[in-house]
């Protein structure tokens, strides 16, 4: 029935009838993925990495972003760069390690070398190369067209004419602040993180990461675990602050914010953390209230937030903080990178607690994320029936009077409207 749908026609919103539907072909079609590469991944701001991952001068990491191979590094003077990881000579990837610290980069294929600020640094005998190679920049590592940061979160854009990052992030900045402000000395990525594959379309994880509706049906074993351990606290010390809800942050970004039953290393104590941690967590909370006032300090301590920054960055400040980004490898396959974010210079016991808390829910070995993966992969397989059953329903909460609830689906609708508009603009 929908073989002639254009990509914008794959999203149908009928406000009068409270219906919002997305064609399942959007998750399965190679031509849709190609359109996404051009309209989204070549034009949107994409998360590259966190300042703390290249903390020292000459630190570098390599990372695949937006279908490119990139070098994210700090030069000898401390300036941050993002280079396309390909030798200007014949194309080999210049840096092959995942991370390290180096005074220069050298392509192993023919030995062209580069300063860590990207400038061509080889000196060949006269007659080999002309002046242009040394002064003209044609032999330098190519910079990513745009590289900008907000609160230590670095983003790239392959569209030279993209709007500034700050405008693009729009309302998401306030919620990045709620994470970045958790420690006066700043935040840092802990270790090398988790890298894994999900055999599902990348947009399924975008939806899932900010979906509260699935929480109880999918994650009952996680809540059972919290109950058994005495880690489930239903009272909310900040109940006078009724933040539970959802916010459209603009440009396709959205966040849900809600009172949650789990413990939060910053700064919501639950009995399973142990009595010895109780005063420590209370002190963290008081510190936040002192710095930011009763309302914001309580909000930071007590409430959980799941945020999607369009198209593929998730910052979830839940039982721990995770940064998660994902890239399509095929219509039915994505690669996921996930990191834990913690306070820089965090006390050893608190860091341990934070990571312990992270793993109770999050990641491929957690008590919840694998069941999300299972749900996503089940959806992808279910889409094999799309000729007969062709549409997803994302209508929950549409008739609601007043602001949307966190377990409505308005946050997904924000994503899909942006997806539709971006694909429509180039088709």
């Amino acid at each position: 029935m929908d073989t002639i749908l254009t990509t914008p026609q794959m999203v149908v919103e009928d406000r009068g009838r409270h219906l919002f539907r997305v064609a399942r072909r959007a998750f399965t079609d190679e031509s849709v993925l190609e359109a996404e590469r051009q309209a989204i991944f070549d034009r949107c701001w994409l998360y590259l990495g966190h300042s703390s991952e290249i903390a020292n001068n000459c630190d570098f990491i390599t990372r695949a972003v937006g279908g490119r191979e990139l070098i994210f590094n700090r030069d000898r003077a401390g300036a941050v760069h993002a280079f396309l990881n390909t030798c200007p000579h014949r194309g080999a990837m210049v840096v092959r390690e995942k991370k390290g610290n180096a005074l220069s980069f050298r392509c192993f294929y023919h030995g062209w070398s580069f300063n860590v600020n990207g400038r061509f640094a080889s000196r060949f005998d006269e007659g080999n190369y002309g002046k242009e190679h040394y002064g003209g920049g044609c032999a330098d590592l190519a910079q990513v067209p745009r590289l900008e940061s907000y609160r230590d979160f670095w983003f790239v854009n392959f569209d030279r004419n993209a709007m500034p990052l700050s405008d693009y992030l729009a309302g998401a900045k306030e919620y990045i602040d709620l994470v970045a402000d958790q420690n006066e000395a700043g935040m840092e990525v802990v270790g090398s993180g988790q890298q894994y594959i999900i055999n599902a379309n990348w947009k399924l994880l975008a939806e899932n990461s900010i979906d509260a509706f699935h929480g109880f049906p999918v994650h009952s074993t996680y809540f059972d675990y919290l109950k058994t351990l005495g880690a489930l606290r239903m009272d909310s010390a900040g109940s006078e602050f009724s933040a539970s809800g959802m916010h459209d942050l603009g440009n396709g970004h959205a966040v849900i914010e809600y009172a949650s039953p789990w413990g939060r290393p910053i700064a919501r104590w639950v009995p399973s953390m142990g009595e010895d941690k109780r005063p420590v967590i209370a002190a963290l909370r008081e510190g936040l209230i002192k710095r930011f006032g009763e309302q914001r300090g309580t909000r930071m301590s007590e409430f959980s937030r799941n945020m999607l920054i369009f198209p593929n960055l998730v910052i979830n400040d839940i039982m721990a903080i995770t940064i998660r980004t994902f890239m399509p490898a095929a219509p039915n396959k994505m690669t996921v990178s996930a990191w834990a974010l913690g306070a820089r210079d965090e006390n050893h016991d608190l860091r341990k607690l934070r990571l312990f808390n992270f793993l109770e829910f999050l990641g491929p070995g957690g008590f919840a994320t694998p069941d999300d993966q299972e749900a996503l992969e089940n959806c992808q397989r279910g889409y094999q029936n799309l000729r007969e059953v062709g549409w997803n329903d994302i209508s929950k909460g549409m008739p609601r009077q007043g602001p949307p609830m966190n377990d409505d689906e308005e946050q997904m609708r924000c994503f899909w409207r942006q997806w539709r508009d971006r694909l429509g603009a180039v088709s």
């Binding site: 990571l355 312990f356 008590f367």
Partner: protein, 172 residues
């Protein structure tokens, strides 16, 4: 390997005999996992035991300072097993089929009746027509004075540069 005064003389002085008993024990463990007897598997662990899977492609080895895939204390390991027995553990419903292969078993130390044991492993998991392969090295600390033996810690170090199967829902 030096002998250990806590052990019966027959094992203390005979590395091959001790290794043989440890291999039997590890084959039993593998068999219980193959057959989804996860509660019996958990009973092989000593109280206070830990179970860990460190990050892939790195030498990070402390779950207090690095993000692992799994870092269970005894209680969370028990709860992991409880979870696996429920059909609401959706990623293992219907249950996958598994085969645990181990080889290259070596005793690398023996102190106070606790043997440090390493072995290579390959674990296959099949579900809905997809076969996942996990491979690497198990590092155990096994109380060989206990009868039967008891695992004091198990760390499964994946020799993979990323987690290709995506999930780590089974015990590898």
């Amino acid at each position: 390997m030096n002998g250990d005064v806590g052990l019966p003389a027959s094992l203390r002085n005979d590395n091959a005999a001790l290794r043989g008993r440890i291999e039997d024990f590890l084959y039993l463990e593998a068999d219980l996992l193959d057959d989804w007897k996860v509660e019996e598997w958990f009973a092989l662990f000593a109280e206070g035991a830990t179970y860990e899977v460190p990050p892939t492609g790195s030498d990070e080895s402390d779950p207090a300072t690095s993000l692992f895939y799994i870092a269970d204390d005894y209680v969370r390991l028990r709860e992991r097993v409880v979870r696996l027995t429920k059909k609401e553990a959706h990623s293992e419903f219907p249950r996958s089929q598994q085969r645990h292969m181990i080889s290259n078993v070596r005793i690398t130390g023996l102190t106070d009746g606790v043997a440090d044991v390493s072995c290579n492993f390959v674990t296959y998991r099949a579900k809905r027509g997809v076969v996942d392969t996990y491979y690497g090295k198990h590092l155990y600390r096994i109380d060989v004075n206990a009868e039967p033996f008891r695992i004091k810690s198990k760390r499964s170090v994946l020799a993979m540069d990323m987690l290709y199967p995506g999930k780590l829902t089974i015990i590898i």
